[in-house]
């Protein structure tokens, strides 16, 4: 029994490895995720790191009205420049300046009379890259406000504390120093995508492809139970999927090293052991993915139909992960029971530097493995059908 399965699996691996183009392509696909992630974090992420005060430039219009403020900003180590552009709104929308502070014409009078002057801060909230600079400018204005208020209250012999019942001190616990941390959440769905893509060509080729080429009929006449043929092909596709996912995981590790070296504000850098754990967490999904692929390749009518169906398949399991990039969820027990969903949460936890509970890992792996085994049984059942051998 084992020898039959081995003979089939070995033949399929050898046959498919000789198909150089498909092999190389299927090993390149899993690199797309890590490369994209690297580009996003390094290029976009770098622009989202909060600028140091000394590098910050406040752009103002009408700043001659506010020499005190100008002096304050320079005193804080930042710089302030006057813009001569008339259409400030257009300049901000076009991305020329992240923010412009506009002082009204009567600012000096109001200031001297110790009245509240309304200044405008022109921003474009849809520009992600401006967020940090806007924040820095607002911070400077707030600090200036407080300094002037303190002075005014002190001259009237009022303790400034009376005016401020609360003071905010936020503590950032994010795994990354910049907003680019949200990109870390992309790793799990990318990885699961590659699980469903890694061995798909082989699963199609060894089942629907073999039937269409007319070699399945003679093969199935050999004295080997159908389920053993199925399992041999299954194991070959599984091995290929594992190889593709391994390539992906190694690429992620290299990208994280690069991110660390470049210092673009991502604090976490999972260790090799943690990446090994991520790979192990993916194994039950690989089993599940190949079982689904073989079922679809067995029941669909043609190679083409199989390709279409299986081309769409990877989107489905990676969808929850895609949504979680922007709406992260707290992991709960029932989520662990849902194949690919539990793993998405576990992988995200590891990437963010948390240690997922062992119980959760066992639960997610166990439930997915059980479902994969049931699907394998179903695949064997479909493989035993009469029409499997004949095309059309």
């Amino acid at each position: 029994m084992l020898s039959n399965i081995r003979v089939v699996a070995t033949k399929e691996l050898k046959d498919n490895l000789r198909d150089r183009r498909s092999t190389i392509l299927s090993l390149i696909y899993p690199l797309v995720g890590p490369v994209l992630l690297g580009i996003l974090i390094i290029l976009v992420g770098a622009s989202l790191v909060a600028p140091r005060v000394s590098e910050h430039v406040v752009v103002a219009k009408g700043s001659d009205q506010a020499p005190d403020f100008v002096a304050f900003v320079r005193d804080q180590g930042a710089d302030i420049v006057e813009t001569d552009i008339d259409d400030v709104a257009q300049a901000v929308r076009g991305g020329m300046h992240p923010a412009v502070v506009v002082f009204p014409d009567n600012y000096a009078d109001l200031h001297d009379n110790e009245q509240t002057a309304q200044i405008q801060l022109i921003i474009d909230s849809s520009r992600l890259s401006s967020i940090m600079s806007i924040g820095r400018t607002i911070e400077l204005i707030n600090r200036y406000n407080r300094q002037v208020a303190d002075q005014r209250l002190t001259t009237r012999e009022v303790a400034p504390e009376l005016a401020y019942p609360m003071e905010i001190r936020s503590v950032n616990v994010a795994a990354s120093l910049s907003i680019s941390g949200i990109f870390l959440n992309m790793m799990a769905p990318f990885l699961i995508f590659s699980v469903f893509l890694g061995g798909v060509y082989m699963a199609i080729d060894t089942t629907a492809g073999e039937r269409e080429r007319g070699s399945l009929e003679p093969l199935l006449i050999n004295p080997v139970p159908r389920w053993q043929f199925m399992l041999g092909k299954y194991l070959a596709s599984l091995a290929f999927t594992a190889l593709a996912v391994l390539m992906g995981v190694i690429a992620y590790k290299l990208i994280f090293e690069l991110i660390r070296v470049m210092g673009v504000g991502i604090k976490t850098n999972p260790s090799i052991a943690e990446f090994a754990l991520i790979f192990a967490i993916c194994v039950p999904i690989m089993m599940l993915a190949v079982a689904i692929q073989i079922i679809i390749a067995t029941v669909s009518k043609s190679f083409k139909e199989t390709q279409t169906l299986l081309g769409l398949l990877p989107l489905l399991p990676s969808l929850p992960g895609m949504i979680m990039i922007f709406v992260p969820l707290q992991a709960t027990t029932w989520m662990m029971l849902v194949p690919t969903y539990g793993q998405t949460l576990l992988i995200s936890q590891i990437v963010r530097g948390d240690v997922p509970p062992t119980g959760d890992i066992l639960l997610a792996s166990g439930s997915t493995a059980v479902i994969a085994a049931l699907l394998c049984w179903l695949a064997a059942h479909f493989y035993a059908r009469e029409q499997v051998a004949f095309a059309g």
């Binding site: 003979v7 033949k11 198909d19 080429r213 007319g214 009929e217 003679p218 006449i221 080997v224």
Partner: protein, 252 residues
């Protein structure tokens, strides 16, 4: 020996074979002839275990192809209707793959492969990958992988279909040799001349039924025709008449 008793098989409303019975003996070449759509391929597919009959049984050396498929498969060498190859495997690797699936290995397997390569005259392509093989080369590989385990019963579905003269002759020589070794050969064809030249016994099928069974001589005596093609036409006409009268009876 191959024995088929009261075989019936339908696909939806289409009756593919109906009440088909015949025996293909050891040491004989049995030809299954009939026009396209007569039910030859369905009958063979049931015999080589890939289809289950709706009724009746098919036996290979006494093993029921539905209930003991692997026992039957061990005793069968089959050239099926579909005879596709793996484009990236060499001829020799094709034969080796099937030999291994029959539990063969090592020296006995390698010498069996060498024998077949020599017998079928395929030394020139033995170590070439199958991509781009001609019809004749493909057929030889398909035959070799079917015969690697020296099966006692050989089923060939239209073996010479689309072959050139030389390849057809090679197949005929091989079939004779298998018969002379006391093995059982059952092959289907719609080429009358080939059947006449090769067969010890002929099973004529039409519309999914057995129309006539006999040696070429017996069929000649029955129809009064000497050329098999004429015999075949005479039997086919006879069958049409029978069917028409059946229908009339049914209507009456």
């Amino acid at each position: 020996m191959i024995e088929v008793r009261n075989l019936g098989k339908s696909f939806g409303n289409l009756v593919a074979v109906e009440n088909v019975s015949f025996i293909a003996r050891d040491g004989e070449i049995t030809g299954l002839i009939g026009p396209n759509g007569a039910g030859k391929t369905t009958t063979l597919r049931i015999l080589y275990t890939l289809m289950r009959p709706d009724s009746g049984i098919a036996l290979v050396d006494g093993f029921d192809t539905s209930t003991a498929p692997q026992e039957a498969q061990r005793r069968l060498g089959v050239l099926p209707d579909n005879r596709g190859l793996y484009p990236r495997l060499t001829a020799r690797e094709h034969i080796r793959y099937f030999g291994r699936l029959h539990g063969m290995s090592g020296e006995p397997l390698e010498s069996a492969i060498d024998d077949l390569v020599a017998t079928l005259g395929m030394e020139d392509v033995a170590d070439r990958r199958a991509k781009g093989f001609s019809k004749g080369q493909t057929l030889k590989v398909a035959l070799a992988r079917a015969l690697v385990h020296r099966p006692h019963n050989v089923l060939l579905d239209e073996p010479t279909n689309g072959l050139d003269v030389a390849s057809s002759r090679a197949v005929r020589d091989l079939v004779h040799r298998i018969r002379d070794e006391g093995r059982c050969v059952l092959f289907s064809s719609h080429i009358m001349a080939e059947v006449q030249a090769l067969c010890d016994r002929i099973v004529v099928m039409g519309n999914g039924r057995i129309v006539a069974i006999g040696t070429p001589g017996e069929l000649r005596d029955r129809t009064g025709e000497s050329d098999l093609e004429e015999i075949f036409v005479a039997i086919a006409n006879e069958e049409v008449r029978l069917r028409a009268s059946d229908r009339e009876k049914a209507v009456a």
